[in-house]
Symmetry: C2
């Protein structure tokens, strides 16, 4: 075989600026609305839980935002991440397509989440905030923020959905290694948690409840802010390092992608890889398809409504303009925990709405089938979330074979699956299932959207 | 900070030849003896379970052994592995020492074991053997051999120590993802297993029993060979890619190590990193210390006897000339499962005996303390085995600080700890302990060495 398997950049080539797609979108998302007044949220409303540096990024129209030197210094522990040519997978599929993937599992957290955790911790510490709270479901984000706070000498409190806290002790251990305090949510640490526990002492918790607890603690303490691992504009901004590096690496490889694929829950790993290519498409007229892949059990972009909705279950967050299944939608227990979110990034939602990004929903079983084929071909066992991108990439490669065309496919392998092995166990032993979402159930959930109340 | 954090090589710089230290040792290990006859084992004795290609390597006196192109092709999935400068750890220790580590956790198996699993599978398939058996304790080796067999379209049966099979389902899942069949050992698949089960149906198993089962199956089937993950000469030969790359990377970094450190159980990750530097020491007169680090709970090199002993508990393997605690020695349940072996590589043992390699034994708690400090400084959570190398490297860095000298330290981070997080949980919650080995217990075990019987 000729050509490199892994296209590597040097540390000097870590991007110096993040790319802000807000500068180039034909239509910006409508502004977030205050849940009480229904009026656009201003920077002052956010100051109680976010630092000014991140609030400024949230609303910035600047195309390039400088990455602070201290952040780049920490990025050097694992960035630039490799771009890999999946030659063995191509061979297994007998496809003329060229399949490339950007591998974010090399971060010490094991996923792309650390790309934004580090600057979020940094900008808080810049303003003297030495303590953060957050929520986590399966734990990827909690691990990343724990590592980032540790790097800056900050403390971190993580509200972890109780059912995950009990069933996934590995990621809780990771957070504790980095010095974080982890509570099973609902907890007795907050009024929100105590209220739930009083009503239902055996509550398994939910991401919505955990958000309420983390926000309550941050809002109620002068010394504490809150951090979110996806959805918001500044999070997707930070993740653009993925796509900026990938674009440079694809140029070195001598191929430009026909299609760029990533899984999409809150939107951060999709936006991270795809937005620099969206720049090519929007500003330079590149012909590139951008595909966000979600689970058909939680089909926000493909079957949700483009509307204002709450980010959490309790309705405490601002109303965001996005595709949503309704904030009361309870996704079934698929193993891609990071994709179990009723809403989506307003930026990604707007781009889907405007036809710039396409969306696809996939069942669980075909994603695991793809993940096992990928592992057996390339060696790396992927996270179940990333398996959605792999499935879509394989389908594109098979379509290229059908068409007899040497198309170029790029996808994001957002994390490894070392902490998700029980889900493979369940798949291999036939204990996994798909969860088709009946139209009536969806309609019922969408009937509760705020503007319909 | 100036200088790179990660020194990377290109795929073209993957070594073309393995380094065979047998060419340069002042004294070769005494030959293995047949357990029945007490006579030196010849190639014919090994043909029942090993391919000729590996048997030739086992006894080769050639200094450089060519790496087959198909093996290098698979190495490209993760090699060359990075050499990292632990600048943040240096800062945390406030030491003038330069600390470098070679990171083998980037392999899809998560450890250095894949370096030898791939050529072992390759040389078997070269001779038409399409089926391998092996044993595994905690599972690192079983995972690596499963991946390697999968790459070459071979099948693999793994006898996994029952207590690990039940307590560590993650690594079993990894093996099954790659298509291996995994039996809890003792099993009813072999006469050896059935015999143990008949006497003790609740036996938790041991590495010695699992070896007996794997060897029995391989010896009894024409189509099946056996593979071992450490100890033997050809295994250490294959691992020399680690040190060959590291030597080149250290040259790029502009520093030559004063001391090279690796943990040592069967000896393969130590030999892999250290032997190319031993070449410098033996042939070129370099002044470099080579340090093998073992647990004080299983102090083979530091307190064992240099003698002939069996490789397994049942006494079925050839007698090897090595440091040993006695083949009936039962190591306590430390979390560094890969270091729980009564014997050691004959090559490493001979070099220790001849004063070319130094050995050090460490308690469990200080190694976990070092591992947590390393994780908090560098991000990566290490495997408990590798934590022994980290502890020794930190001690060397503190000694350099004491002496006010800018010494250069190189250690092998042989694997990551994603699948070992429960051991960190135990450490952080105060549930771990040290296991001092009383002299009487050791004397009792050593009294059973074959030549004393």
């Amino acid at each position: 075989m000729s050509g490199e398997v892994r296209i590597l950049l040097t540390e000097k080539e870590i991007p110096t600026h993040w790319y802000n797609i807000q500068a180039d979108m034909p239509h910006l998302p409508r502004p977030p609305l205050h849940p009480a007044t229904g009026q656009p949220v201003g920077p002052d409303d956010l100051k109680a839980i976010f630092p000014l540096g991140l609030i400024a990024q949230e609303v910035s129209g600047e195309r390039w935002v400088e990455i602070p030197e201290e952040v780049r210094e920490i990025y050097r522990l694992w960035r630039p991440s490799p771009l890999c040519r999946a030659r063995r997978l191509e061979k297994a599929l007998d496809t003329p397509a060229r399949i490339y993937y950007k591998y974010e599992g090399v971060s010490p957290a094991g996923s792309h989440k650390l790309n934004t955790a580090v600057p979020q911790a940094y900008f808080n510490r810049q303003e003297g905030v030495m303590r953060l709270t957050t929520e986590t479901g399966a734990g990827q984000w909690g691990v990343a923020l724990s590592q980032a706070c540790n790097f800056f000498g900050m403390s971190c409190t993580v509200y972890m959905v109780k059912v995950s806290y009990e069933q996934k002790p590995y990621r809780r251990s990771m957070m504790e290694i980095f010095g974080s305090t982890v509570y099973a949510s609902p907890s007795d640490q907050t009024a929100a948690g105590r209220k739930i526990l009083a009503a239902d002492p055996g509550s398994p918790g939910s991401l919505g409840i955990a958000i309420s607890e983390a926000v309550e603690e941050a809002a109620g303490r002068e010394d504490t802010n809150y951090a979110l691992g996806s959805v918001l504009n500044h999070v997707l901004l930070h993740q653009s390092v993925i796509g900026l590096e990938a674009r440079e690496q694809m140029a070195r490889a001598g191929h430009y992608p026909d299609v760029v694929i990533a899984c999409c829950g809150g939107g951060s790993n999709f936006g991270g890889l795809a937005f620099p290519f969206a720049y090519d498409k929007l500003v330079r007229g590149a012909k590139v398809r951008l595909m966000a892949v979600e689970p058909s059990a939680c089909p926000t972009l493909t079957r949700g409504e483009f509307a204002y909705d709450y980010g959490d279950v309790a309705g405490l967050t601002p109303l965001l303009s996005m595709y949503t299944l309704g904030s009361e939608f309870m996704p079934p227990g698929i193993h891609a925990g990071g994709l179990r979110y009723h809403g989506d990034s307003p930026l990604v939602s707007q781009l889907v709405h405007d036809g710039i990004v396409e969306a696809r929903a996939l069942d669980q079983l075909p994603t695991f089938e793809a993940a096992v084929l990928f592992a057996r071909s390339e060696g790396t066992v992927p996270a179940p979330e990333s398996a959605h991108a792999i499935r879509a990439a394989i389908d594109e490669a098979l379509a290229a074979k059908e068409a007899g065309e040497a198309r170029t496919i790029l996808f994001n392998l957002s994390g490894h699956g070392f902490l998700d092995l029980p889900s493979y166990d369940a798949y291999l032993s036939g204990r996994l299932q798909d969860y088709p979402l009946p139209g009536e159930a969806l309609a019922k959930s969408l009937a509760h959207l705020p503007q319909k109340k």
